[in-house]
């Protein structure tokens, strides 16, 4: 079954226009991505063990993907043995229904969430809010995004496109709405102090905590949560009920595999050796324990993942959502995450969005959000061949006839002429004649069809009066002639 993703909202031209017209956002994105990319390089350069560990982690991830079903069964047995509940969810509606059932049964009114891409993917907040629940994101970046009514613009640092001034404005508004004191200034500690005070109240009042998960360890039945703010711990231990929504791709076989994987999101994502908080969860509170939830539910989300097993795209499931590919991507640096129209932005989003949601969901991403510079392939710690997948998706679009007929015709004619020497020379001569209409002050300033895309923002020299082919023929003639 293919998955289902929330709609993009605005059209691609509209999203693109908005992004390019927002210099503050673009500057913030360029700055934060550059700094993260530099930190990543630095940590690998100064931490000799990192590279070998990364290589083992790649093998561990690929190995787990080769036997996902068996590992999920094993995981399920272990979690259930400790009193947890495990369900498999095909898509967004399944998860929503399940969570709302539990909420109704346990009289839940207020929900706190820690950062989770899986729940973004299924628009869980919306589903719960529509059912009348109060939902609060507790990761600082997600909190900001929630107040702004936006989608995360970066899979790791969701609010990195916002300036401190913009955050302060959002917090001021929230303070007014809640009738509490606003932040005292827009310095980072002052902003976080406000968020902490607000979120503390949400944590204490919550009946249910919803988290994602970075890894699932089959051998031990463990949910692994990595955060930098500690909000994950409060989300999973303070409320009466904890529900974790985790993609089936997060499974790893053994604790030893986990040991190699555990540092990878931090190493490649933020350039830290380890994230600040690593939390291992193996079930609800047991007898004699002082804290932890009364109920623990693990929802294993498919949403189009299972279908990718055994295809050329399978390695995309090895993604650890570190964001390294976003940080080096020149297109991401230029347009930021919102323009992608999906919670998965950057190179991973270009590939994952159409694979999970169908090519019709985001036909623009493979062809328009990638310059094929291969920077992401170099950056990805899991060695996912993102450019190859982007090429494959472009080819699929062509094969399915998803491009304008005029483009298709251009390529067909082009291929026909240029695949033989006489045709190549012929098109050169014709173009030289034809270009006269478009040449002004010795420059090509306009052009028909596809090439018009070039001249929309750039000049080009006209075709040379004598091509190299012609020069060579002339030279040879003059040499043999004399």
């Amino acid at each position: 079954m293919p998955g289902e993703l929330p709609p993009a909202g605005a059209t691609w031209p509209e999203r693109r226009r908005r992004a390019l017209a927002d210099p503050a956002m673009r500057a913030a994105v360029a700055k934060s991505t550059r700094s993260l990319a530099v930190k990543k390089e630095a940590v690998f350069a100064t931490y000799p063990a990192a590279e070998a560990m990364r290589k083992r982690a790649v093998i561990a991830r690929r190995g787990s993907l080769a036997r996902v079903d068996a590992l999920l069964d094993e995981l399920t047995r272990r979690v259930e043995a400790r009193g947890g509940h495990v369900v498999r969810a095909a898509g967004p509606a399944d998860v929503g229904r399940y969570v709302l059932d539990v909420a109704r049964r346990r009289g839940v009114q207020r929900v706190v969430k820690s950062k989770s891409m899986a729940t973004e993917e299924i628009a869980l907040n919306e589903q719960l809010e529509n059912a009348g629940l109060h939902v609060r994101e507790t990761d600082l970046g997600e909190y900001i995004i929630q107040l702004a009514g936006e989608r995360p613009a970066h899979i790791l640092v969701p609010a990195s496109h916002k300036t401190r001034q913009q955050v302060r404005a959002l917090f001021d508004e929230e303070a007014a709405a809640c009738a509490v004191d606003p932040p005292v200034g827009d310095a980072t500690p002052e902003l976080t102090a406000f968020a902490r005070r607000q979120l503390r109240a949400d944590f204490l009042a919550a009946d249910m905590g919803i988290s994602g998960g970075n890894f699932l360890v089959a051998e031990t039945g463990t949910l692994v949560l990595i955060t930098n703010e500690g909000n994950g711990r409060m989300t999973t231990s303070l409320p009466r009920v904890h529900i974790a929504v985790v993609g089936i791709d997060k499974i790893v076989a053994t604790w030893a595999d986990l040991a190699d994987l555990l540092q990878q999101p931090a190493l490649s994502g933020t350039g830290q050796r380890l994230s600040t908080y690593t939390t291992f969860i193996t079930g609800p509170r047991r007898e004699g324990e002082l804290d932890g939830p009364e109920e623990f539910h693990l929802v294993l989300l498919d949403n189009g993942r299972h279908e990718l097993l055994g295809t050329e795209f399978v390695d995309i499931l090895a993604c650890i959502r570190c964001g390294a590919c976003l940080n080096v991507c020149p297109v991401f640096r230029t347009i930021g995450g919102q323009a992608y129209g999906t919670m998965y932005s950057g190179p991973i989003g270009v590939v994952l969005t159409p694979l999970l949601g169908g090519l019709e969901r985001a036909p623009e991403l493979p062809k328009s959000a990638c310059a094929l510079c291969y920077a992401c392939a170099d950056a990805c710690p899991m060695e996912i061949d993102l450019p190859r997948h982007i090429l494959a998706l472009r080819r699929t679009e062509v094969e399915r006839g998803m491009e304008p007929w005029s483009d298709r015709l251009t390529f067909e004619l082009w291929g026909r002429f240029w695949a033989n020497p006489a045709g190549f020379r012929f098109t050169g001569r014709i173009a030289r004649l034809g270009q006269r209409v478009y040449v002004r002050d010795g420059r090509l300033k306009g052009a028909p069809g596809l090439v018009g895309g070039w001249t929309a923002t750039r000049n080009a020299p006209p075709l040379a009066r004598e091509s190299f082919h012609e020069w060579w023929a002339r030279r040879r003639a003059s040499r043999t002639g004399s």
Binding site: L20, P330, T334, A371, A375, F411, W418, T457
Partner: protein
């Protein structure tokens, strides 16, 4: 005499034949007997990256045919090296073409044996292809100052070419900005070659800040997304502006695509700054004419032989 076949690429052929002419002269000075197979047109990368693999394969097959040694050539001799005037096109041939031709043959209903034969023919070409700066870098041994050295004995250039003569006798070398295309950098891994070739040409190459970021050319991407592509070019040009402030005299690249992107954008903004293909820069250096005035003149002239006018 060592033979080499020149693959000028469709863009050099049509837009900047001058770079091809420069390459011929550079190679001939190094004792290479240059051949130019007339059947060549395009490596097909543009169509390939746009998802049009059938068209790309048709162009790819033609390229393979064009460079295949003819039956008349003595079968015992090793087929000549193919020197490409683009890192990106060289990468297309080396990394994509064997797979592409095999897959396409199967899709067109050819037998697996025929498909495998296309793969082998493409692989044979891929093995022979080398990008120009990599080739030049391999021919020369750095001298004591890294300037003015000649090929290793027995190498193709040992028969008395001029080697790298340097720009002039001036004590402070001319600074030039060097931009390495993404495919050259990441698929060929040739990050050092253009720099060391320029150094041996007697100039000081300067890499821009954020050198590894793409210029925005991107083949079909650049046509489909003119605004994003131009914004990427502008980021690169901002870094070039910094280098210009530090006194670089021109921008050199081994890929014409990047030069047309950056030059075309700059020109649209009404700003002029000389941009040279690496072959042109080395040719000028060979002739002791890598000077601001000659750089300017070469960059302006599109004609095959600027001195003829």
């Amino acid at each position: 005499m060592v033979r080499a076949q020149l693959f000028v690429t469709c863009m050099v052929d049509l837009f900047r034949p001058r770079a091809g002419v420069a390459a011929v002269q550079v190679l001939e000075r190094r004792g290479v007997e240059v051949e130019f197979p007339g059947g060549q047109s395009c490596c097909g990368q543009f169509a390939y990256n746009a998802g049009h693999h059938r068209e790309a394969a048709a162009m790819g097959r033609q390229l393979v045919r064009a460079f295949e040694p003819s039956d008349a050539a003595s079968p015992s001799a090793d087929p000549p090296t193919v020197i490409a005037l683009s890192g990106s096109c060289a990468a297309m041939i080396k990394h994509e073409m064997p797979d592409l031709l095999e897959r396409d043959a199967l899709q067109r209903g050819r037998t697996p044996a025929t498909a495998a034969r296309w793969r082998r023919r493409a692989e044979a070409l891929a093995d022979r292809v080398v990008e120009l700066s990599e080739w030049l870098d391999r021919q020369a041994v750095p001298g004591p100052e890294g300037v003015g050295t000649r090929a290793e004995s027995g190498g193709p250039a040992s028969s008395g070419g001029p080697g790298y003569a340097g720009a002039s006798g001036s004590s402070t070398p001319l600074k030039v900005a060097s931009h390495t295309g993404c495919h050259m950098r990441r698929l060929l891994g040739a990050t050092e070659a253009p720099l060391s070739v320029l150094r041996r040409a007697g100039v000081e190459p300067v890499e821009l800040d954020d050198a590894e970021q793409c210029c925005g050319f991107g083949g079909s991407f650049g046509l489909l997304e003119p605004d994003i592509s131009a914004a990427m070019a502008d980021a690169k040009l901002a870094n070039l502006a910094t280098a210009r402030g530090d006194g670089v005299t021109c921008l050199v690249s081994a890929d014409l695509g990047c030069l047309m992107q950056l030059g075309g954008r700059l020109d649209r903004q009404g700003d002029a700054f000389p941009m040279l293909h690496l072959a042109e820069a080395v040719d000028l250096a060979d002739r002791h004419r890598l000077t601001p005035a000659d750089i300017e003149r070469t960059a302006r002239s599109q004609e095959a032989d600027p001195d003829a006018r």
